[in-house]
């Protein structure tokens, strides 16, 4: 991007770009074939059967040219060619919908009219995204206001960024360089200004770039600070507070399936953490009471993502994985800013 003043075809800079372009080529060929066929037939018939002077035509018996067979042929052939498009497109979509495990995690918050980006390691940027080449990158995205859409044409992928929920998008950059980020869902006045740049770097350059980060610690560390500040650990058992609290022990919970009060099961993932912080009463884990107050309004979307990262860092499945340095653990001195629910709140559900 940038220097070129005119292009007819976009850069292809991700692992799926080639497949998408292949499907595109197939569709262009099929379309060109049928467009030409139709154009040639229409022009040819218009000339060949053009009425000469006052010649009054004889009615043609249409059945003489095998109507039914033709109808079947020109229904079935396009249907077959279309179903190839469907299957090919669906297989690309499946790939696009499933971020590979151990992708590099990046968090995106859309806001009229800017992209706020946080790396799990702590670096923050606005309208810029620095990523290493040949690594799977997974974006977890949300919006603070209206619907946006994170679109990188060179990667041939986009996904809507919605308020009130997390969406994901992933790609694996295969070319070094800078590429456009566009907001592709109309979001108001400066929609066309909600653009940015992806910079794909070598692994070494990326590490160097990360090292010059925000100096605020990793997202999980910042999330832990918020966790403590809001007094979450007073009820939720965690690495800091080993006693089993009045609320579920969060250690090792991420990625597991938990059973709810009503017997249904839910995956303990980013979306569930988010929902439980904002609307705690909606899905209560079996064996616990409805005592948690909502933290809606006390956390920004950015802050919420940090808390989610912290809970994720408390380990997956066996609860051993943790990236929280012990130094931070000791700083849990800030009192809760939310009034505690009375202990007698014994489940009014």
């Amino acid at each position: 991007m940038g220097e070129k003043s005119f292009q007819l075809f976009p850069d292809a800079a991700s692992s799926i770009a080639g497949t998408v372009d292949g499907l595109y080529a197939y569709m262009v060929l099929v379309s060109a074939f049928f467009s030409l066929l139709i154009a040639v037939l229409v022009v040819y018939f218009a000339i060949k059967y053009r009425r000469k002077d006052d010649h009054v035509p004889k009615p043609v018996d249409e059945h003489s040219i095998g109507g039914m067979l033709l109808e079947i042929v020109w229904s079935v052939i396009p249907l077959g060619l279309s179903l190839v498009m469907f299957a090919w497109g669906a297989s690309i979509f499946f790939t696009e919908s499933r971020p590979p495990a151990d992708s590099l995690e990046v968090f995106v918050t859309g806001k009229q009219w800017m992209w706020k980006i946080q790396h799990a390691e702590g670096a923050r940027e606005i309208n810029e995204l620095h990523i290493p080449i040949n690594r799977d990158i997974r974006l977890t995205m949300t919006s603070e206001d209206v619907i946006h859409d994170f679109y990188v044409p060179a990667f041939r992928t986009k996904a809507d960024v919605l308020p009130g929920r997390y969406t994901t998008e992933w790609f694996k950059p295969t070319e070094l360089g800078q590429f456009h980020i566009f907001c592709a869902e109309y979001c108001g006045t400066k929609h066309s200004g909600m653009i940015g740049t992806v910079t794909v770097m070598t692994e070494q350059d990326y590490d160097k770039w990360l090292a010059t980060g925000s100096g605020e610690g990793s997202m999980a560390e910042q999330g832990q600070a918020l966790f403590n500040q809001l007094g979450c650990g007073n009820c939720h058992a965690s690495l800091i507070n080993k006693e089993t609290g009045r609320c579920p022990n969060l250690n090792g919970l991420f990625g597991t399936t938990v059973t709810l009060k009503d017997g249904s099961q839910v995956r303990f993932d980013e979306a569930y953490i988010r929902e439980s912080v904002l609307y705690p009463q909606s899905k209560i884990v079996a064996g616990y009471d409805d005592i948690m107050p909502t933290f809606k309004g006390l956390l920004t979307e950015d802050g919420l993502l940090k808390v989610v990262e912290y809970v994720k860092s408390l380990g997956t499945k066996n609860g051993t994985e943790t990236s929280v340095p012990s130094a931070v653990v000791e700083t849990s001195t800030t009192g809760p800013t939310m009034p505690q629910q009375p202990k007698t709140g014994t489940g009014n559900k």
């Binding site: 292009q7 007819l8 976009p10 497949t19 998408v20 499907l23 595109y24 569709m27 099929v30 379309s31 049928f34 467009s35 139709i38 154009a39 037939l41 229409v42 018939f45 218009a46 059967y49 053009r50 009425r51 006052d54 010649h55 009054v56 035509p57 009615p59 043609v60 249409e62 040219i65 109808e71 020109w74 229904s75 279309s82 179903l83 498009m85 469907f86 497109g89 669906a90 690309i92 979509f93 790939t95 919908s97 206001d145 619907i147 859409d149 679109y151 044409p153 986009k158 996904a159 809507d160 919605l162 929920r165 969406t167 566009f182 907001c183 592709a184 108001g188 006045t189 929609h191 066309s192």
Partner: protein, 542 residues
């Protein structure tokens, strides 16, 4: 000119001069006069919508936002979309040509409910007044799609008034659809069985089903939107506990079938023109008839293909994708049947036929590019880019408006009893076809390059293609202006038209031009299939 029948009684009053004065028009219950009322108002809206298109293309001639500011630009494309979709495309063919021709085609004196027909026009006008109010008081900037929560909580335009305008206008479409359905069921001339109906009637019957079943959904959706914006009752905005994607489901549940409200009548027009100007029965009558019905039915099952990147479930996406391919097949069947109709026909390249051929060309491109967008993996890259803009303009302008222009030129002699300039009308048809392609074909490239829609300012590498597009738009505009001029000119100076200038076989041509108020002196009795061309019956053109 030669006609086989002696000219009908010339002195008899026709529907245009049977009564005089503005009041006789505003209180008429004659379907033909109501069609003329619609013609005047719908075309007026077309030119207002077109003016916004001109402003959009002027702004996009350069990458910077140098003509107007972003807010104004956003209002331009919003007003362009609202006016063109709801106040031009949806009523254009059904309310003008359908209203005028459909009762005559089935040998009826009028629609089943003539007064409701007039009411439809007044409702349309009331909706239009709301929209003009929005326009004059400062506009609305949500896009014609009104996506939430932008429209309910963030936009600072006149969203409620615009929503109410469309809400009210919807009832006009519902009543027109209802009127057509009842008319086709109850008012057919003796002997006119379903499979003797002209295919224009089938197309309008299918369209009417969509209007009656689909329009209430958009009305309810916009009503919910007004409630949320005005009273903060949470349906769509997560801040009030709503779901923003729910709006998209409801909106497209109507607005995708609405595309078929626009294109099906146009297909009906093209079928009539093809058969007349090939002097041959349409190939595959039953296939064309049932493909209209199939499009109407399957059209209701594909709305989710507008939501592939919206966080909709992957499996829902697959279902909507495969159904979208299935709904494409009836359209392909129609195109192939039209071409087969030309085979061994007796083809006359009069102006309506030029538009019909133009329709086939442009609709084919529009339909084929729809296949790109129905494919999940391709859609992720292309959705919300100029590829989509190009695709749906090929369908709606290239398809629906070419059909509308073809129909206007086909029935103009019947509507007003005059002929327009053959030379100028062909010049205009070719100019429109060329201008259209130059405007919208480059946008496919822009879309694949990744230029998002609704961008006021864009990166410089997209400029060359945008300049081409703007140049094409000016040619297109000139084409429409030429057509407007010679058509208006013909009203006063045009040569008098015979009852059946094209040698067509459908019933509306078997009466005078313009028709008498009751349409027929004697109710016709039908004894054979539609479009029975016998050599004796064929009359020659002007």
């Amino acid at each position: 000119m030669i006609t086989t029948a002696p000219p009908p009684v010339e002195t008899k009053k026709n529907y245009l001069n049977s009564q005089e004065g503005l009041k006789s028009w505003l209180l008429t219950s004659d379907h033909k006069r109501i069609a003329i009322l619609y013609l005047i108002t719908v075309v007026a809206f077309f030119f207002i919508g077109g003016l916004f298109a001109v402003l959009i293309r002027l702004e996009l001639a350069t990458p910077a936002g140098d003509l107007v500011d972003s807010n104004t630009y956003n209002k331009f494309f919003t007003m362009h979309g609202i006016i063109m979709v709801f106040f031009f495309l949806i009523p254009s063919i059904p309310a003008i040509l359908g209203n005028f021709v459909l009762p005559m085609m089935i040998g009826a004196k009028d629609l089943a409910f003539p007064k409701i027909n007039l009411l439809s026009w007044y409702i349309y006008m009331l909706g239009g007044v709301f929209t003009l109010y929005v326009l004059l008081s400062g506009g609305v900037d949500t896009g014609w799609t009104f996506y939430t929560p932008f429209s309910t909580s963030y936009s600072n335009g006149y969203v409620i008034a615009a929503g109410l305008g469309i809400f009210i206008n919807g009832f006009s479409a519902i009543l027109t659809g209802l009127n057509f359905i009842v008319t086709v069921h109850r008012m057919r001339a003796p002997g006119l069985t379903w499979f003797r109906l002209p295919l224009f009637v089938w197309a309008h019957y299918a369209t009417s089903m969509i209007q009656v079943l689909g329009t209430p959904v958009i009305a309810v959706t916009l009503f919910l939107l007004v409630l949320e914006r005005g009273l903060h009752i949470g349906f769509f905005d997560p801040a009030y506990g709503g779901d923003p994607v729910l709006f998209q489901h409801l909106f497209w549940f109507y607005s995708h079938p609405a595309v078929y409200i626009m294109i099906l009548p146009s297909m009906g027009v093209v079928t009539e023109i093809m058969t007349t100007f090939c002097s041959k029965k349409p190939f595959g009558y039953t296939f064309i008839a049932f493909s209209s019905v199939a499009i109407a039915v399957f059209g209701f099952l594909v709305w989710g293909h507008h939501l592939f990147v919206s966080s909709q479930s992957v499996y829902a996406g697959m279902v909507f994708s495969v159904l979208s391919y299935i709904v494409a097949i009836p359209s392909a069947i129609k195109v192939f049947n039209w071409i087969a109709t030309m085979y061994k026909g007796s083809v006359r390249l009069e102006t309506p036929m030029l538009y019909a051929i133009g329709f086939i060309g442009l609709f084919t491109v529009g339909g084929l590019t729809g296949l790109f967008l129905a494919s999940l993996g391709m859609n992720v890259h292309l959705t919300d880019t100029y590829f989509v803009i190009a695709h749906f303009h090929y369908v709606m302008v290239g398809g629906a408006i070419m059909g509308f222009m073809g129909g206007i030129h086909y029935w103009w002699p019947k509507m007003f009893g005059v002929m327009y300039s053959q030379l100028w009308s062909k010049v205009a048809a070719i100019t429109i076809f060329m201008g259209f392609n130059l405007t919208f074909f480059p946008q496919f490239f822009l879309g694949y390059m990744g230029m998002p829609r609704r961008y006021h300012v864009y990166p410089p590498e997209f400029q060359v293609l945008n300049v081409l597009s703007s140049a094409g738009a000016s040619i297109l505009g000139v084409g429409y202006m030429i057509a407007f001029c010679y058509l208006v000119w013909s009203l006063k100076f045009g040569e008098k038209a015979p009852p059946n200038p094209w040698g067509a076989t459908t019933l509306e041509w078997q009466t005078t031009s313009p028709p008498i108020t009751e349409n027929f002196e004697v109710t016709p009795v039908i004894t054979q299939e539609a479009y029975t061309y016998t050599s004796e019956e064929v009359v020659h053109v002007v």
